[in-house]
């Protein structure tokens, strides 16, 4: 069965840690990092491997820091 797999690349230096993406993710695969970026913000990281590449996180991201990729594994 074909399986959709996704992955996000987060520009962590531009992330402000607002967590809107974390709440928007239907797969619950995003979380806040334990470390901070150069601006002092905790940033979002992909912590789960069940991303489907739906881009919900990127849509609600006010700082346009998320790039989304999606692949169909056959």
């Amino acid at each position: 069965m074909a399986k959709v797999v996704g992955e996000v690349v987060i520009d962590t230096e531009r992330c402000k840690g607002c967590e809107l993406c974390i709440a928007a993710c239907p797969s619950k695969c995003l979380s806040l990092s334990n470390s901070i970026n150069v601006h002092g913000f905790q940033y979002t990281v992909q912590s789960g491997d069940n991303c489907t590449g739906c881009a919900s996180c990127a849509l609600v991201c006010p700082d346009a820091v998320i790039t989304v990729y999606r692949k169909v594994n056959k």
Binding site: V5, G6, E7, V9, R14, K16, G17, C18, E19, L20, A23, A24, H39, F41, G53, C54, A55, S56, A58, L59, V60, C61, P62, D63, A64, V65, I66, T67, V68, Y69, R70, K71
Partner: protein
């Protein structure tokens, strides 16, 4: 990096029309989302060289630092006057104003109403978060009844401070107006709809149908003294019941 991250699998990236500068907005602010959506639409329509934006006074005064298009920064409330002149002088270009609720619904109501009434063929993006952002949390014309702000510390008393103003419903009554819609950016689904509305408005502008307004009900985590998630919950539970989403006016036959 996995084999998923490669160009042929790309489904979403920051539009090239949005500059790389880090936006000064507070974490979670809706301005960033709307800037991004507008620039996505500009990129998709291929009109980066043919659009002029007018920025307001308010938090989004610096929009020109983020949108990679030609922009003019207006005096407080006067964006629609600038927009009128630019559109009249360059009728072949796209023109939009980007204004908050203080800029548009208080000091700039006159300019906005008259530009709309003349049917100026431009778009106004109206960010309504129900509070003054840049000056730190004073009451806006759009502040909800009972809402506490620094200038209505005991809650907005409509008997003495006036009622929250539904600009979009007012504007929709004017014959020069082609399209008025109220959107939000608090959920992925609403973000998608908002983008579609922005694109629709620019298409109507191209067709010369008249003045268009896309109101976006937005948040203000800092001045509502809450987290971005709580601010979006406030939008959902308090703002949207009063500022109902959807098209308020569409051109005939559309």
């Amino acid at each position: 990096m996995s084999d998923i991250v490669c160009p042929e699998n790309l489904v979403y990236k920051k539009p090239s029309t949005l500059k790389d500068a880090i936006m000064h907005y507070c974490p979670g602010c809706g301005h960033g989302v709307v800037h991004k959506l507008m620039m996505e639409v500009v990129e998709e329509m291929g009109i980066q060289n043919d659009i002029i934006g007018i920025t307001p006074v308010g938090c989004s005064v610096f929009a020109y630092n983020y949108m990679d298009i030609d922009m003019e920064q207006a005096a407080h409330g006067r964006a629609c006057a600038l927009g009128t002149a630019v559109k009249r002088l360059y009728p072949e270009k796209y023109v939009f104003t980007y204004q908050g609720d203080g800029d548009l619904a208080a000091i700039g109501t006159c300019e906005t109403m008259h530009a709309a009434n003349r049917g100026e063929k431009m778009l106004t993006i109206f960010i309504n978060n129900g509070i003054y952002g840049m000056t730190s949390g004073q009451m806006a014309p759009t502040t909800l009844e009972g809402a506490k702000t620094t200038t209505s510390p005991y809650g907005r008393d409509v008997e003495t401070m006036g009622y929250p103003l539904r600009i979009s419903e007012l504007i929709a009554n004017l014959p020069g107006v082609a399209y008025v819609t109220r959107q939000a950016v608090n959920t992925p689904a609403n973000v998608r709809k908002c983008k579609k509305a922005l694109k629709t408005a620019l298409e109507y502008q191209k067709q010369g149908l008249g003045y268009c307004m896309v109101e976006v009900v937005s948040n203000c985590p800092s001045n509502n003294k809450c987290t971005p998630l709580e601010a979006n919950k406030f939008v959902e539970e308090q703002m949207l019941p009063f500022y109902k989403l959807g098209d308020i006016k569409v051109p005939e036959g559309k």
